[in-house]
Amino acid sequence: MDGRTDFLTGQAVCNGALQTNIVRWVLTHPYWKVPMTDVSMQDTPYEARMGDYFALLKPRVMSLVVFTALVGLLVAPVPVHPFIGFVAILCIAVGAGASGALNMWWDADIDARMRRTAGRPIPSGRVTPGEALGVGLALSGFATVLLALATNFLAAFLLAFTIFFYAVVYSMWLKRTTPQNIVIGGAAGAFPPMIGWAVATGSVSLESTLMFALIFMWTPPHFWALALFVKSDYGNAGVPMLTETHGRDATRKHIIIYTLLLVPVALGLGLTSIGGPIYMAVAVVMNAWFLKGAFDIYRRSDADCEADKHSVEIKTFKVSLYYLFLHFGALLVEAALRHAGMGGW
């Protein structure tokens, strides 16, 4: 018994029984009962389209990975041939997508219970769990090997470790067992700029470690702000989010603590060789804005949230999205200015 539950009956099941239930659930899913004019086609199951397989790769997460990895690659002091850079970013994106497919394979039961994820390819019956596992494993191997051949072994190792971390450490282990799941699991999303840097330099440095730390420290307040206004979803799925295990007040406290810890990381990155006055100006403004949002959340009660329909939490969540985008965007501007003989300290 591994603590998972059958999403049809809600009873605890062992892994083998769970797989059997997934197959049963897929085979009996109403998605297949589409009206057909040809009687002979009544028993024909739904054929997955390319778009269904693409959806397994979590394209929206992939876009963030591509952006941060590209920044990591472009701000590095060693130039990379454009085509090799393109292939490297493609490999990182495919690797991230592969870990997304493995995550969807493992989490099909809890995805089916959450409004936000019920339409994903496996719970909606468009792709079978076995297909998702196959896509995930094949793309993981493809992306890692191609990155090793195109660039260097350190970058490939970091990519393989990222996939392992997201699929095994986060999805299989932490997500269902601890409310600190996204704190440690957030590391998986923090690796891409470090991989991009390793593609160019073949090494890990203070700069790439701080870029990693920036995303790592940003992830908890970002997700907890989200969890505060979609709390019922995680609760229904049985995922031990901090809001469910320790309550919403404790979550608000955690948000302000992690945001305070994030500030020195963001400002410290500006003092390294890839920082500069523009990055620092952006960092000061965005950290003040994010801190204000976190502080506003900290001061609120559940009654306040109900009264204004979580407007402050939703706003702070949006600020957190701008926060990351503008920090990495500013690093890119600094790199462009340095290239033109300006920028930097």
Binding site: E47, R49, M50, I84, L146, L149
Partner: protein, 67 residues
């Protein structure tokens, strides 16, 4: 009587087949492109050019040619 060559399965899987074709074509393009870039990064071709199973008079050292 007309012979229907195309099974309905072909029509149903058309999109998937086109997708697989594009993926394979893209993979070939990537491997080809990487090969070209990696070879060009080796520098001046004459520095590492060898016979490659065929006599290449243009890279035979001058003393051997005069003998």
């Amino acid at each position: 009587m007309a012979i229907k060559v195309e099974h309905e399965l072909h029509a149903r899987r058309k999109g998937r087949n086109i997708g697989v074709f594009l993926l394979l074509a893209g993979f070939i393009a990537i491997v080809f492109g990487l090969t070209v870039v990696k070879v060009l990064q080796l520098g001046e071709a004459s520095q590492f050019e060898k016979f490659d199973h065929v006599a290449r008079p243009q890279i035979v050292p001058e003393e051997e040619v005069t003998q």
